[in-house]
């Protein structure tokens, strides 16, 4: 019905470099994957098979084919990468990407300790094979990284060849970019934005209040991640100022 409402924020079109949405599949069946695409295919740019769920997913090949047929790239969560690294199975990981025709890979260190040069080395190696997303931030809520260090890590990972960097939040949205209550560390976010172009970052924002925060701060075309499949349509309305939370925000901008 896109033709009839005036003054709705303009959205980027696929393939999107910004205004990009990453959805998290944490174990959908083949038919459930088809269902969510049938409602939200236009609003999802990439699907992450969350953490290591792909390891225990039956019919994995069949589900990935659903995404390929819809031209939605997919990748396996960073925890799977870390599970291979910590077991000294990096070569097996590379073979896995080939075997499942995975076009992206996430390099992260949310659950393990890894020297940052080593992390950047993995980014460099993997970018020969796939498009690399790298993730900054720990899954441990007690590990607080100061803003200057977030910036330094992000910059180095982009320099090493990451296409975009991801700000960690987990499926629940209560670590990394957020306090344990889910509240945004807004000082951190704003300091990052003084140094890293906003379109180079994918902000994990599983909770509605978090999505609203980023959209109000950076506009309709901010990159957001860890979106539950059922929240893709709601998110699109928030981006367009068509849900209570951003309704006045975008109207005021048009004044």
């Amino acid at each position: 019905m896109h033709y009839f409402l005036k003054n709705v924020p303009e959205r980027t079109q696929k393939p999107r470099d910004k205004g990009f949405t990453m959805a998290m599949d944490k174990g959908l069946s083949v038919r459930q994957a088809e269902d969510f695409l049938s409602a939200s295919q236009d609003y999802v740019d990439i699907v992450k098979l969350g953490w290591a769920t792909s390891y225990v997913t039956p019919n994995l090949e069949e589900k990935l084919e659903v995404y390929r047929n819809a031209n939605i790239p997919y990748y396996f969560g960073g925890t799977l990468f870390e599970a291979f690294i910590v077991r000294n199975q990096f070569d097996d990981y590379r073979k896995l990407l080939d075997k499942y025709k995975v076009p992206f890979a996430e390099v992260s260190d949310g659950s393990i300790e890894m020297d940052h040069d080593e992390k950047c080395g993995y980014i460099q190696k993997l970018k020969e094979q796939v498009t690399v997303l790298s993730e900054v931030g720990s899954k441990d809520e007690e590990k607080i990284i100061p803003p200057y260090q977030w910036i330094e890590l992000m910059q180095k990972e982009l320099d090493a060849g990451a296409w975009k960097v991801i700000g960690e939040a987990r499926e629940s949205g209560n670590v990394g970019l957020f306090r344990s209550t889910g509240e945004v560390r807004s000082g951190l976010v704003q300091e990052i934005l003084t140094k890293i172009p906003y379109e180079k970052i994918i902000w994990e924002a599983p909770q509605k209040t978090q999505q609203v925060y980023f959209i109000k701060l950076m506009g309709a075309n901010v990159n957001l991640g860890n979106i539950a499949p059922a929240d893709l349509i709601p998110l699109e309305t928030i981006r367009l100022g068509l849900r209570g939370d951003t309704f006045s925000h975008f109207l005021d901008m048009n004044k």
Copy 2:
């Protein structure tokens, strides 16, 4: 299995004037809509396509046909109405209702400031075309309306031609009738009930504790809204005293 348990509260039958349940579809695919109807068709009286989700829903016509074929009336959330009003597109809104054969319309002012006479004017105009639901309460959690004013607004909207009035709660259940914690403003509810017949009100009650509150207060056949599709079967058990929360309540009434 309805034949075998004694002393279960009697439920009204469709078409229900009370004991009415409004479900919220916030972006279901066609197949997901079929799925929830196949489990819960008897327990849903009307479907709201939440806020302006209909604006970004692909295959909208196809999904509405699923509801029509099941004899479930549907309507578009009040935020869509407000999005048209705030853009001076009321005539376009009226055409939209015709185009999609929408049998109901919601008149609300949850996200915009609107003179109450103007609001009642929209109710009067729209009731020539469709059945009107009007909604009282702000989506802004800081805007507290005192009880006497809730009553006055509700009465005027019913007088203007609203079939029923809706008490605002949002999808999350933390504004309007509820505190930001989700707790019911029970003084408000009870004061409203001294003046407005309970069957003229649809109480938005997305959270289980809220549903339990209204059912204990007004019985199995209270009108409830903003029910998630997956909660329709659970809600029916609460209405019948067959879930822990109301199990003793209805047994005690039979003593």
Copy 3:
């Protein structure tokens, strides 16, 4: 993809006596039941039709056939049993189990007061007909049972013929084994474990933090219940140390 990661905890195989997962169906449609089995059939050992949802489920026979065809045993929640008992309809309940070919029955007293000898009597009678699960703990968050009494009740119910005993938590995970915040009563759990073998207990643990607690305490092959269908794949990764929450826990054990 189970072939490629080294040092992953070994899981028991079906039919499982421990490492057992009970999923809660609270009103799925037939197709939704098929969907969750197609993704998670290997990770679910039994399905509970939560509380008395079976009473209001249309096409119940058809859904149960889906579970039977997948070789997943099913049963009706304890609240349904209690609804029959409180109405003096125990014989009707027994007929119901036959009519729907229900292989298990839950004997509980979460919503009613029942003499414990009477409860054990029902266990003894029902075990002639089906496999019995009995549940300890109240659904009333104000009813706190001291640890020594949990142990005594559990032991007597096992002696009466219960195959396993269930620790109550409800769908929400905020009573019985848990505080109203969802936090585990860990002193209670640990005291129970001094007397009752852990494989004789099914711990209701609907929340992720609760699942993590039990898996860290008792290992990958603890019996867990009240798992939402969408959480079966995530739970399996937690059991295998392939999600952030237990990632280091199992690695440290391998050192």
